[in-house]
């Protein structure tokens, strides 16, 4: 599968020098009487590096064999985490190297987006919002319910976050996994 430079859109996944890239920008450049080019900015999906490549307009780029699957987190051990496809019950074990940045967002029974390149996982993304229990924090202070005064807390997944001072240990909160910010208290 390939696509011409004039079909390359933001977000498409291409393969360059045997590595997968996400398209960030595609600019058409042409002198009035000269060769037309496409200056394409892309991000390496494995190491995150940004690169810029220029192609003659009309050249073709290979599309990367990339797919995203929703998989349920089962368990983790010392150096990996295991997920399962709900439909096929297939399990995949992903090394800590890839899980590293999101390890503190791993919760059992939750669905994660696993990005596969040629069938191999290259990235795991948590849902934007997660609900989790506070396991460690200083005692709640009544009175201030503005939510503007914050204190440190640790959640059941081991994430270190800032929460309003009126929340106690054992309470459930909603957290934004992109920023690690507290969103709201969850009443059950």
């Amino acid at each position: 599968m390939s696509a011409s430079t004039n079909e390359i859109r933001v977000g498409m996944k291409v393969e360059v020098d045997k590595e997968p890239y996400t398209i960030i920008n595609n600019e058409f450049v042409k002198p009035g009487k000269g060769q037309a080019f496409n200056r394409i900015k892309m991000k390496n999906m494995i190491n995150g590096r940004m690169v810029e490549r220029t192609y003659k307009s009309g050249e073709k780029l290979d599309l990367a064999d990339v797919e995203e699957m929703q998989m349920r987190f089962l368990y983790k051990d010392a150096d990996s985490a295991t997920f399962m496809d709900d439909k096929t019950f297939d399990q995949v074990t992903i090394s800590k190297d890839l899980i590293g940045p999101i390890e503190h967002w791993l919760m059992e029974e939750i669905l994660y987006a696993v990005i596969l390149y040629k069938g191999q996982p290259i990235e795991v993304a948590p849902p934007t919002f997660l609900e989790m229990t506070i396991t460690e924090t200083s005692p709640g202070v009544r009175g201030d319910t503005s939510g503007r005064v914050l204190k440190a807390a640790t959640t059941e997944t081991g994430a270190k976050i800032q929460i309003p001072i009126f929340i106690d240990e054992g309470e459930k909160v909603k957290v934004d996994t992109r920023t690690g910010e507290y969103v709201s208290r969850v009443n059950e």
């Binding site: 859109r9 002198p31 009035g32 000269g34 192609y55 307009s57």
Partner: protein
């Protein structure tokens, strides 16, 4: 802006002409693709990429100084500085010198962008100054790599030349002033005359840049139909090698470039880009009410 442009030409006694936008012949250029249209089930026409061929036939017929202000069309050109349909002011001045034509074009541009200083720079000098290369003798692939760029090793010398021009040189042209690029290499002459200058053949062709944006393209016009036929044939050959269609030669146009064709200079200016720079925007779709959607 259109009113100011027409007034500029009226003050100089340049006659407005209206040329056919749809012609049985396509303009021939290695790097310009033409939009075709079905005129009837068995007849194909082409939208003009500039009114040049038609205007030159009028010049040969004795029109004297003429201008065209209207829309032209180019296939596949969509981007920040490109729209497949755009507005062009193109004019021809009989008996005017190449230098005077440059001055008059700068005055036209200044009408819209203000009294900017004007600086001339030869194509050779621009490559020396901004890319650090002698474009005829140095290794252009290595030069591009020195500028942290990733050219394709398979590219031809002429592609590398355009690559350096667009990626390294153009962004530096016209930062504070109108930069006039002149003395193009003979293989970039298009429809311009070639003259000897400092022991080197150069094309009497110019372009003006402001803030890295190419605004016009002008020539001391080649009056020789035989030479042009040779160039068009070479262009068509290059198009075929690049996997593009070759186009039939417009004999009526080539025939006009004979003894009746006056000594003249001509230039075309992109009006949409003037509008863009006048309003300090970065993309044509910010200033055009009707533009084609850009891909990114």
């Amino acid at each position: 802006m259109l009113g100011a442009a027409r007034q500029f030409f009226a003050e100089r006694n340049v006659l407005e002409v209206d040329c056919c936008a749809l012609s049985p012949f396509a303009a021939i250029d290695v790097n310009i693709d033409v939009i075709s249209a079905d005129v009837s089930p068995n007849m194909r026409g082409y939208l003009h990429t500039s009114p040049e061929y038609a205007m030159k036939r009028l010049l040969a017929a004795g029109s004297g100084d003429i201008y065209f202000l209207g829309h032209v069309f180019r296939q596949g050109e969509i981007g920040r500085l490109h729209n497949p349909e755009f507005t062009m002011a193109e004019w021809y001045r009989v008996g005017m010198s190449f230098e005077t034509m440059i001055e008059e074009t700068a005055e036209f541009i200044q009408l819209f962008l203000g009294k900017l200083p004007v600086k001339q720079l030869s194509y050779r000098k621009a490559f020396e100054l901004f890319a650090g290369v002698n474009y005829t003798s140095d290794d252009l692939f290595a030069a591009a790599r020195r500028h942290q760029l990733q050219p394709d090793p398979a590219w031809s010398r002429s592609t590398l030349q355009h690559f350096l021009l667009t990626h390294v040189i153009e962004p530096k042209l016209g930062n504070q002033e109108l930069t006039v690029l002149t003395d193009y290499p003979p293989n970039e002459a298009a429809l311009a005359r070639i003259v000897e200058k400092d022991n080197e053949p150069v094309a009497e062709r110019f372009e003006i840049y402001f803030r890295g944006v190419e605004l016009c393209n002008g020539y001391h016009e080649l009056p020789d139909g035989h030479e042009l036929r040779r160039r068009f044939t070479a262009d068509n050959l290059e198009r075929v090698q690049a996997g593009k269609p070759a186009y039939a030669l417009d004999e009526a146009f080539l025939g006009a470039l004979g003894p009746h064709f006056p000594d003249c200079c001509g230039v075309s200016v992109g009006i949409d880009r003037l509008l863009l720079l006048r309003h300090k925007r970065s993309s044509l779709n910010e200033v055009l009410p009707f533009s084609w959607p850009q891909i990114c």
